[in-house]
């Protein structure tokens, strides 16, 4: 053993560009066609939500009773509803509502869920038991039922629908990050962080959270899709957006009496919901493959 001479390792190779884990994930994300299609759809709806009012040919509440329930034509691309409002314009405006609800509800529940999940996973013991049992209780209810209950307590409005959707999604995020934290906190670099003399708060937010975050991003992008559907469902049940708002679910609900006579009143909001959800799902799947190859299948 002592005869072996220490040689300095060959370090003469040119300094290469540092490739971080996020960049690497982006590289593999780009390779997936369906993920790019999904991202394209999502971006399209985001742009629609931002610039909608500039594109929409008519205002959302411009009523024209002379053209009630008019079929799609060159003037009204997606037809009109029973108040003679242009469905195309309303769908464009609706994108803003749906994305707003989807994003805000998911961000809200991800923040709350991650916070609770990290605390539960890191500290364990009775804190974990309490938080996990609360999650279990919430998951025991069908999520839409819980959302209906929350909305009926708070009163029906878009804002309250958003809060309800955020609440029912908290346990999903919480449990997800808790399980990830449980495995990450046993990693040697966390032990070494402790050995260095770091405080718990620094370890939690700088070491454990960034290393536990990728499943949250994946779950988040998929949860936006679900949240949009849930918002539409609440709207359909009359528990979400109020009457004149062009919320897609509400539009579906208003249109159902005309299903046989004027199917376009229902088809186009439905397609809008389907497309957005599809986009987020494709993007989420791509993110999952890129960020967490182990989760595949």
């Amino acid at each position: 053993m002592s005869e072996l001479v220490s040689k300095s390792i060959d370090m003469t190779s040119k300094p290469e560009k540092a490739v971080g884990p996020w960049k690497e994930a982006w590289r593999s994300f780009k390779k997936s066609k369906s993920a790019l299609v999904g991202t394209g759809i999502v971006l399209f709806f985001i742009l629609l939500a931002i610039f909608g009012p500039l594109i929409a040919p008519q205002g959302i509440n411009d009523q024209d009773f002379s053209v009630r329930l008019a079929p799609p034509s060159s003037e009204f691309w997606f037809g009109t509803d029973d108040f003679g409002r242009d469905i195309f314009s309303r769908i464009i405006h609706g994108a803003r509502i749906s994305l707003y609800v989807g994003f805000s509800a998911v961000v809200l529940s991800a923040i709350v869920g991650c916070f609770l999940g990290i605390i539960a996973g890191y500290y364990g013991r009775w804190i974990d038991t309490i938080i996990s049992r609360i999650f279990d209780i919430m998951l025991a209810f069908p999520s839409i039922l819980l959302a209906i209950a929350v909305v009926s307590i708070l009163g029906p409005s878009l804002q309250n629908a958003l809060i309800a959707i955020a609440i029912i999604n908290v346990p999903n995020f919480g449990r997800l990050i808790r399980s990830k934290v449980l495995s990450v906190k046993e990693e040697e670099y966390i032990v070494s962080a402790k050995a260095i003399g770091m405080k718990d708060s620094r370890i939690l937010w700088r070491h454990i959270l960034p290393n536990s975050f990728s499943p949250v991003i994946v779950q988040g992008s998929l949860a936006i899709a679900t949240a949009i559907i849930e918002a539409a469902a609440l709207g359909f049940l009359g528990l979400g957006a109020e009457a004149p708002k062009p919320e897609w679910g509400k539009m579906l609900s208003d249109a159902r009496v005309h299903l046989m006579t004027a199917p376009w009143t229902m088809i186009f909001p439905g397609i809008a919901i389907m497309l957005t959800v599809l986009g987020f799902n494709l993007m989420g799947d791509g993110l999952r493959d890129a960020l967490d190859p182990k989760m595949k299948n």
């Binding site: 884990p21 032990v191 003399g197």
Partner: protein
């Protein structure tokens, strides 16, 4: 020898065995059972033993990464086992650790600069510019280059990563480094490089090491004194030369006789022990009595104490002196 830097007395760690919904305790696992030793300033104490014998647990208790069940740890005149969490965090500036798995011990999302700078930030050392300079300086010290600071851990080989791990342990200029199997995960050729680096650093920076390993050859190469652990107990503690030349404890003898010798004509005197390691320390008697070829009735009854039988050579065995 010179001053005692670390004095560990009667250190114990019992893990409770729990089961059932409410986690009712039924018995305990004695991971470390009554271990005492001293480490002198500037020396390397090797701790060897098979897996599960409590050597890593001992190392982690000294760092208070695990709370000792009982016992005292005196470091540089300070009793560590009773320090508050806050004071212990500060004390960790003087005791650092090098970990076994260089693939797991570096945060994959941080660049090398961030990894090395963090101990300085945590202990409030230097300004941002000074810290940057120190990071580069220490990278050079461990045989890497300043430009490596921008890279991520996955862009390095195992040996290079372990060098980064060593650099991180050095950043706060500690007095004691606990190396928990620092080379077990590396290729043999790289092991030698890392060991030589550690020895060179010890000379240059006046470091004290506790070197935990299961490879007797590696421990012999680096240690001044060696402690042998079996099932949570220290069975023999001696100067490196004395231990390898004349092992006293039957377990050490068996352990040493199993070290391969690079000489095909060498006829070794094999000491073969039978059976497997017991699941936990026997309730009474020597931990090794279930497998010891020389076990007597005394060994089954009484726990042998670690007694100095020759100068600088202690053994916990009824065959020597005591009895």
């Amino acid at each position: 020898m010179s001053n005692v830097l670390l004095k560990v007395d009667n250190l114990k760690k019992y893990f409770p065995k729990r089961s059932g919904a409410v986690g009712k305790k039924h018995g305990e696992v004695k991971a470390v059972d009554d271990v005492s030793f001293e480490v002198n300033e500037g020396e390397t104490l090797g701790i060897v033993g098979e897996s599960g014998c409590g050597k890593s647990t001992t190392g982690r208790m000294i760092m208070r990464l695990l709370e000792p069940t009982e016992g005292s740890i005196k470091f540089d005149g300070i009793e560590l086992s009773t320090l508050s969490n806050k004071d212990m965090r500060k004390a960790r500036r003087d005791i650092q650790m090098v970990f076994q798995d260089p693939y797991a011990s570096l945060n994959p999302r941080h660049t090398v600069k961030k990894i090395l700078e963090e101990p300085l930030i945590v202990h409030g050392i230097g300004s941002s510019a000074e810290r940057k300079e120190m990071v580069e300086e220490y990278l050079e010290i461990v045989g890497l280059s300043a430009y490596h600071a921008r890279r991520f851990p996955h862009q390095f080989s195992g040996g290079q990563r372990q060098r980064i791990g060593i650099a991180r342990a050095l950043m706060t200029n500690p007095k004691l480094i606990i190396a928990d199997e620092p080379v077990s995960a590396l290729d043999v050729s790289i092991q030698a490089q890392v060991l030589n680096l550690m020895q060179k650093l010890q000379e240059d920076l006046k470091l004290t090491y506790i070197f935990i390993a299961h490879d007797l050859g590696v421990v012999r190469h680096i240690s001044d004194r060696v402690g042998v652990m079996y099932l949570g107990r220290l069975v023999e503690l001696a100067d490196s030369e004395s231990l390898y030349a004349e092992p006293l404890h039957p377990y050490t003898q068996a352990l040493l006789s199993s070290v391969p010798v690079p000489d095909p004509t060498y006829e070794r005197e094999k000491v073969i022990i039978t059976g497997d390691v017991a699941n936990s320390v026997p309730d009474a008697g020597c931990a090794f009595h279930t497998r010891c070829p020389y076990a007597t009735i005394t060994c089954k009854m009484n726990v042998p104490n670690l007694v100095e039988v020759k100068k600088g050579h202690s053994v916990a065995c009824h065959l020597y002196g005591e009895a």
